[in-house]
Amino acid sequence: MATLTPRVELAIGSRFENIDLVQVVVKVSLQQLRLDDDTSHWIGMAVREAVANAIKHGNRQDPDKKVEVTFGIVDGDVLIEVRDEGSGFDPAGLPDPLEPANLLKPGGRGIFFMRKFMDGIDYDFRPEGGTVVRLRKRLETSAPGETQEDGSK
């Protein structure tokens, strides 16, 4: 993913209460782009999941560790980056929450939601430590509900 022209950057301490703060910034930023409420809702939900993971798994709820969120537009895509100070993980080895054996598991749906709600998600693990997840949404996309239903067969 090329350079991200940041419109807005936000850094918070790793407390779950701060997820609302991130969501409201995303919401107001997307309002400026005149995105419809639904698209904006699902992007906000994806960002919630990314920030929740950064706080919980990445920074293990250490309030002195930061989660940084960058919000920008690149080539007509909304790009949102969420960075934590954790030690990373292997995104390839995740169980599929739709497998019958996993359907009743209490966890394991966060990254799945990000994939469903966005048009692209990729992970980057910085050599100095810390996970970066990049979420991308094409602005020309029609209703996000359609994308989801297509994707969930």
């Binding site: 997820i19 929450p97 966890g107």
Partner: protein
């Protein structure tokens, strides 16, 4: 999140209001279900009409509540799904797991 709890014809009706999300509503939902079970409830109906946002942790708590209640021989059903919660149950394929109602009388009757 605020939780209302009442009884009707032997069914415990829980009505969470607000967000069922990580670190807040998810814990409140779990506590309410356990409280109901400790008080002897077998059948639980969760009215989601006033649930504004549900994230993957909220869904996780709903699934946990379902398995806990079922394992104890009870039933857990859902009432009044807002469209966005419905969407989320759809994409997680949990619609195949939960019995969902749009009418309280019908939902209550279903437990007989």
């Amino acid at each position: 999140m605020k939780m209302a709890m009442r009884q009707r014809q032997g069914v415990t009706i829980l009505q969470p209001k607000g967000k069922i999300t990580i670190g807040a509503g998810d814990v409140a939902l779990r506590d309410a279900v356990h409280e109901a079970l400790d008080a002897g409830a077998k059948n639980i109906l969760i009215n989601l009409r006033e649930t504004t946002t549900m994230d993957s942790s909220g869904i996780g708590e709903l699934v946990s509540a379902y398995t806990t209640v079922t394992n104890r021989g009870g039933k857990l059903r859902l009432l009044h799904l807002p469209p966005k919660v419905q969407d989320i149950l759809q994409i997680t394929q949990l619609v195949t797991v939960f019995d969902v109602y749009d009418d309280e009388d019908e939902a209550i009757g279903s437990f007989d």
